[in-house]
Symmetry: C2
Subunit: 359 residues, 2 copies
């Protein structure tokens, strides 16, 4: 059993790893970060860190042996890495969650296999399959690499008149998936946790606005019907149960409004704490980071109640230069990730504002 004083190993040294490490410290755990980049933001708040490649078997074994449980902040953990780690320490969430979420085709197949609606999709290995997929799915549709896409990278829209070959070229002729374009009203997400004993707890549904394909603002509660929110949570629970998932996960969904009805279409899942859950840090009884730590340690989940109407805004690139103005704003909670350089598109921090509930 994991007890306070044990060591949590975290794969990945970015802001998610950093915030998981701080939550772990609050609960009396030590942390050990494994990341390839020197000066990773998470190193600054961890008792120990290892700088090595995710392919460095000796370093991975040494790391796994030095900790009591391993978790990760990103879904693109190579399966060989996951295998090496789990031979020496419990890995949570499990390797299956990684496998499913790091390949868009597996992911969509898995989700639709559960009877949950996704965009229509088809695998694409070459131009012939792309033509076939386009014929079946129609346009507009979105061609996405099966692996390593995030924040809009590795995807391209194919509209009527566009050249499919050029699109395939644009994504590097990688194994891909063609997805029908979903004409959604808004994007929402469920951030939830599943414990070792199967206990499940979701935060309130939030709605997300993107800017240049990067999350810009999360608002909670989402402006949807209660039965829609209930359905979203059931979808997340179904997915978590099917993966025998342990930890926090996020399910991103499209909200489609047709003939006055609300419909949910799953876009993707993230087997980790999620940017759209940052509002829980200060905005909910238990933050998603603490919740994740509780779950991966086999501890009981915390309360997920919301503390008000919450708005979380990402500070991207030079947005973070506004830190002084934000510090002076009553009720604004500033979180900065300790990144040295405010590169364009780089998540530098976020600010959470909590308002009294609307009557």
């Amino acid at each position: 059993m994991i007890r306070p004083g044990s060591t949590l190993g975290i794969l990945g040294g970015g802001q998610l790893g950093r915030m998981i490490a701080m939550a772990a410290a609050q609960l009396g755990l030590r942390t050990h970060i494994f990341a390839p980049e020197e000066n990773s933001p998470a190193f600054d708040v961890a008792g120990e860190h290892t700088i090595a490649s995710y392919e460095d078997e000796a370093a991975l074994v040494h790391f796994a042996k030095s900790v009591d449980v391993v978790t990760y902040e990103f879904e693109n953990v190579p399966s060989a890495t996951a295998d090496i780690l789990s031979a020496h320490a419990p890995l949570a969430p499990n390797a299956q969650a990684l496998a499913v979420s790091q390949d868009r085709f597996l992911e969509k197949s898995f989700i639709s296999g559960l009877g949950i609606e996704t965009a229509p999709f088809a695998p694409v290995e070459n131009e012939a399959e792309l033509a076939e997929a386009l014929a079946a799915i129609g346009r507009p549709s979105v061609l996405k690499t099966r692996r390593f896409g995030y924040d809009g990278k590795g995807q391209i829209m194919i509209r009527p008149g566009d050249d499919p070959a050029a699109a395939f070229e644009a994504i590097g002729r990688s194994p891909a998936i063609l997805e029908g374009f979903v004409s959604f009203e808004r994007e929402v997400s469920v951030v939830a946790a599943r414990a070792k004993d199967g206990d499940f707890a979701a935060y309130d549904l939030c709605e997300n606005e993107h800017r240049s394909h990067i999350l810009d603002i999360t608002r909670v509660p989402a402006d949807v019907r209660p039965e829609t929110e209930e359905q979203a949570v059931l979808i997340a629970q179904k997915i978590a149960n099917a993966l025998d998932y342990v930890g926090v996960l996020a399910v991103e969904l499209f909200l489609v409004r047709e003939n006055g009805q609300e419909r949910l279409v799953v876009n993707e899942i993230a087997p980790r704490v999620h940017n759209s859950g940052h509002w829980t840090l200060g905005g909910a009884e238990t933050s998603q980071f603490e919740q994740h730590v509780r779950a991966v340690c086999g501890w009981p989940l915390g309360a997920t109640a919301r503390l008000g109407r919450v708005e979380m805004r990402n500070l991207i690139g030079h947005d973070a230069d506004e830190w002084e103005r934000i510090l002076a704003e009553p009720g604004a909670h500033l979180h900065l990730y300790g990144k040295a350089e405010a590169r364009s598109g780089r998540k530098m921090g976020h600010v959470t504002r909590i308002f009294a509930e609307k009557p």
Copy 2:
């Protein structure tokens, strides 16, 4: 000017330094802890640490030169140490705050010099002075070492019939102060912050219950009249202004009830974040730790509004063995300090419970 990305130096590696370091990290600061003890709890959440004695001049100079501002988690920083540090980096709170608060006689003289009520007191260097002081102040009274007392250590009650010489012996014949015993109804404290520009912000008055001279429970709000609370805050502000104080400070007071009137008597001041302010972590808009970081960096103070009725309970020694039960309790917020050994009397963590305000 201190900016995110700068380094905050913290003298002392206990739980207070640890929680200051976590608050600093949230605001994008790096931290460097200086402490003599190996395995200090704060090391686990800091980017850098130095293990050296507070008398090690070379180590102190190296430390001060590596940071942008220095603060501390305890008032017994030797004045020579403070002098060395402040020659190489800004020190906040300042050396005067240290000098006044680490000597009970200076402290009481300073406070009563401001026209603020304290217990009657007199300095005691030898038996003759003790006899004189007892004659003037009467019994019961409390003989305390001028320096290095905390959590009831270095003090002894002298009741009618007790042998004064034995009492003086018991505190090691150290330079001392005799204080008249205050027959108080309860102990309250003001935790407040003063910014570089003189801005002042207090948290709501809290009341404190001790067990074996160690803080056991803090409750907020304190059950006192509004005008009493107002007076307590004015006392804290007067003290902070007189010290040109920058940072969070705590003022401990006795509440005396006589003839239906409430009266405040200052017991002591702490030039630092304070155990009776732990409730602000999760219980107030801005925690005392973030507030302290804001102040010592010269940044604007945060909002101090309380988020409900709050109870903070210390986990002393084996109290912390209850961690699993506390984790399972809805609404209980567990904080553990990462200390390996649950020695008796050792502060291992605390738990905060936040309730809806009484109507």
